[in-house]
Point group: C2
Chain length 396, copies 2
């Protein structure tokens, strides 16, 4: 057998039937009636729809209890209580981080996700242990899934001396971005945390992705601080804000200028379509020109029992929380979980065109919009021209 | 073969393994190590969890395009625009109502729903055609699923003369309840619509289930009108309010007295956990003693492209929209989609005790809470002791 793959009878983006020929991990031809080269593997797509691989732009692989016995949620409702509870459980459970990362990454692969941005916990208690676990698993899985790593100060930066140095070290040792979290709400010092985070980004030339749960005016205040620093340091296009619940709370007089600020500084917004927090208005953001991406966020961990690592389900939740009903808006959610994420992660060769990397998903369905509401089992997941999942099961 | 059924190695409500012996459609024994009677069918439950059958307490089977080619959503955002668009499509598509009802009911069965309350459209254009279609399908499916029918004036009552008489006739011809819809927001005459609806209920001794989308103070005003009439006519325990978005908008000074009013008049609340409307606070309602039930609402019809008729998914959506994370609260959502609905629908012999009707679902999983977040395929669905679905497929 060669490494060639011929996927027959599939409909890219729900269009007309074609065959897709992959050689060397790249889509080489995309037309009807391709003859299989000698030795090629052949897959019959049975008129399934082809989408480019999903991009999970915000996940916490290193936190998850995936694959372990059920653990009832027991944390209090505040971010601070959840952090403290997680730290307690971390000591108690002593998880093998690389094993957990790999378990959940395989689940994501089974759902068609082949590109991930992972926020890895770094604090003065665990040091770089989670980071090293993620990097080890990332290396093992690198032929199937790409994992971008954000050095994430889950327990705060300013309020936890020593964290800044650890973040610096993580980036020096290969983390792709520097993270942050509620500079005001958690660290009580927005200027202090942002100076540290942007300082590290400047020092190593990496991007930034900041968790911002703080709502209303407090959230908006910090978004402006982030935008100012992005402009001052010439980081346009390299900064993301995750959650940004406050965008779902601003009135029109504030929202318009805020979106302008995001567009001017090419700051991307990650929303997972939260169930019980305000939702950034997805259609409005996209119409204004803001790049929106999405992710699973926490999955079956100390923060939440929820989550399936399924970005098609995530598209449904985004649509449902935003009141989307038309095909056009349902398609927008698919764009968010595919091309939106690819743009933010800077993926090269992403897409379904000839010359793109052969990372795609085949699912049974009639239209793109139907995929969002019905979320069918992924029939085939192809990574770099190799079958990595079949009928919802990862076969790595 | 006899009609006896022995389900081996299952865990009722995620408890210890037992066998369940069913004869004559009734659960007769529920203990370990039951020997199969001669001629009995035997099912190996493989340590799956057993739940009582799901109750879909609010669905619109007669509206659905389930099983038809994908139809992009095209209605405007208001209730009135959606009603007019639906009427237009009804003329255009000329659906076979009984066929559509049966299609979607089979989907519901495949997901473990065996008891349904259906709001059937009645207006001056279609008359009782949808009602008759539902009644015909109901009759065909009656051995597998129970369907309670609400005569529902989708297009309004006061504003559409002739509707009151049709509703009256539907109830006379066998509808089990009389419905209503936004007496203020749609009919512009809360007193007028409620007098008609309660008049029919009084005349025939049937229950009432009113759609109330109107929000805030306008919704609360109508809830008080409904409660007054419930008390005056001695209808406590026979009235439900569906949606009641306003309960998710009232401040504490209004919410407490409103819940007291609901409890005093034993008015049940149906919430489907809406994605982009305020959510009645489920835990608060239950703690106050209000009976809460749930349903799929519209499914793939002129109102919405969403919906799967899966009440386990509905439990997830309820939990997620209410910010539920603990096992206790996740269990509450399961109670809402099973026993809550059974109480409101007045189902006799419902449950998993000896003597109950053998209507239950077997799913693979570790804990009850896990079922809510993971929503596994229904391995077996048993209706009156007969297997009606297997591995997610209706086999009627």
């Amino acid at each position: 057998m060669s490494d060639d793959l011929l996927v027959k009878n599939v409909r890219p983006m729900a269009g007309a039937d074609v065959d897709i020929l992959v050689t060397g991990g790249i889509i080489r031809r995309l037309t009807r009636g391709i003859e299989a080269p000698a030795g090629a593997s052949v897959v019959d797509g049975q008129h399934g729809i082809v989408l480019p691989a999903f991009v999970d732009g915000h996940i916490h692989l290193d936190k998850t209890y995936w694959g372990l016995p059920w653990r009832p949620h027991e944390a209090g409702p505040t971010v601070r209580e959840r952090i403290e509870n997680e730290r307690r459980l971390r000591r108690l459970l002593d998880l093998k981080i690389d094993v957990q990362v790999e378990r959940l990454a395989r689940q994501a692969i089974s759902r068609g996700t082949l590109h991930i941005r992972n926020h890895v916990d770094i604090d003065t208690e665990i040091g770089l242990r989670n980071f090293q676990g993620v990097m080890a698993a990332r290396d093992r899985l690198k032929d199937a899934v790409s994992i971008q790593v954000v050095a994430f100060p889950q327990s705060g930066v300013v309020t936890r001396p020593g964290t800044a140095e650890l973040l610096d070290r993580a980036v020096k040792e290969g983390a792709h971005l520097i993270g942050g979290i509620d500079p005001a709400g958690l660290d009580q010092d927005p200027k202090g945390q942002l100076d540290i985070v942007f300082g590290i980004a400047g020092r190593y030339g990496v991007g930034i992705d900041i968790h911002l749960h703080d709502g209303g005016a407090l959230g908006a205040f910090q978004m402006r601080l982030i935008a100012e620093r992005t402009r001052a340091l010439g980081l346009a296009g390299k900064v993301s804000i995750s959650h940004a619940f406050c965008l779902g709370q601003l009135d029109e007089s504030e929202l318009g200028p805020m979106l302008d600020l995001l567009v001017d500084n090419r700051i991307a917004i990650m929303t997972h379509g939260p169930g019980d927090r305000p939702v950034p208005p997805l259609a409005r953001l996209r119409a204004a020109g803001v790049t929106v991406f999405s992710g699973s966020d926490a999955i079956r961990d100390a923060w939440t029992p929820f989550g399936t690592a399924d970005m098609l389900e995530r598209a449904m939740l985004l649509a449902w929380r935003n009141g989307f009903r038309t095909d056009e808006l349902l398609h927008a959610t698919l764009d968010v979980v595919t091309r939106g994420g690819a743009r933010v992660l800077g993926l090269e060769g992403y897409g379904l065109d000839v010359g793109c990397r052969a990372d795609f998903v085949v699912v049974s369905g009639e239209t793109l919009a139907e995929l969002v509401v019905a979320r069918p089992t992924r029939a085939w997941v192809i990574s770099g021209g190799r079958v990595v999942a079949r009928d919802g099961e990862c076969i790595l």
